[in-house]
Symmetry: C2
């Protein structure tokens, strides 16, 4: 499957490079019966799109990577601060029941937990479901008891890329990551303030927007 529609000549060039690599632009031009100048735009496109790799003084190689560099650069340049959404945060002493109600009222999948403004935990829909089908009295137990605690929480910063956020979500198998800023608490302890979140929903929406001309603002 060719992810990008190539012209007939661009496909000819790729076949030539596959067969004769490394091959110089002079050699390609000669085989296609063209001038080097006429060939240059196609070589530029194929190189930028990641099909070919140009090594100075050696020639062109077929890189076998139809994923183009433009795409990869583009995604790595999108910043977390441009795609993050508002986090829903409760304190550690909130009951599990009240936290679940907040989850529904705010229509989110994850709740972050703070202690004096500092990120201390995360509770997901899955955690809540697990506790809800057990014999626990969810009206009495505080979220502080069932949450995943720092330092076992993957997080990102505003200046990280959308790719970094997706990587943390996939590698840590979580639904979202909090966006944080370092702060120092009253007692002099270092910690993080929660300023946002990036969830699978944000990444899916970004993917959708990428095809929808909705990123003009970036």
């Amino acid at each position: 499957m060719n992810p990008i529609e190539l012209t007939k000549r661009q496909n000819q060039i790729i076949e030539l490079v596959k067969k004769h690599q490394p091959i110089t632009s002079e050699q390609i031009a000669e085989k296609l019966n063209m001038t080097r100048a006429a060939l240059r735009p196609d070589l530029t496109v194929l190189t930028m799109a990641g099909y070919l790799e140009a090594r100075p003084k050696v020639g062109y190689f077929y890189s076998g990577q139809p994923v183009n560099n433009i795409l990869s650069d583009f995604i790595k340049n999108l910043k977390v601060e441009n795609i993050k959404s508002t986090p829903v945060v409760v304190s550690e002493d909130t009951t599990v029941y009240d936290a679940i109600v907040t989850l529904f009222l705010e229509d989110v999948g994850t709740i972050y937990v703070h202690n004096k403004g500092m990120l201390t935990g995360v509770v997901s829909r899955k955690d809540f479901l697990k506790i809800a089908i057990g014999n626990t009295d969810i009206h009495k137990v505080p979220v502080g008891v069932i949450m995943t605690r720092m330092p076992n929480i993957a997080f990102v910063r505003d200046e990280d890329s959308a790719y970094d956020a997706a990587a943390k979500i996939i590698e840590h198998e979580v639904d979202s990551v909090p966006v944080v800023e370092p702060i120092t608490c009253e007692n002099g302890k270092a910690g993080f303030k929660i300023t946002g979140k990036v969830s699978k929903t944000n990444i899916t929406r970004l993917f959708y927007d990428l095809c929808n001309d909705k990123l003009g603002g970036f």
Copy 2:
């Protein structure tokens, strides 16, 4: 913010086009003191990347869309059949409790429900949580009672694009969509067989893989 790193000359060209559009390649070449042939590769790149639009016999326009066409084409060419994962399916008479246990054992966020092999419903983690905190006896109520029923289920087909799947997920505000094939049941009724699913996790993983050279197989 420039999503793609452009060369100094490419930025000069964009500024010229913004200021003088429509402008022909001859006019750009003259202003930059270059030959048209030397200018051509940059114009090709800028046009393919979506920065400039070329209208025959008129000249170049600034399109104001840094999202490049390559990227959009690439995403729209990825097929559902290449990114779908295995669905978890139970029958309508499965109890809510057993369905929740299946959800945890299979570690998924959504369960699909069938009747004689035909897709009839969907139950999400959110639906389960809602029922679990109520006064319902989840050991007695079957999933058929609490599920979202056809025809209120957004679905995709193998030949749809990854973009179509992301669009259905975002527009219908769901965590996943089943991948289906049309079938005819014993009683002659038309319906759909479930062959896979595409979730926010699949889209997030795809986004992650796009930057990770992991799509060589496509």
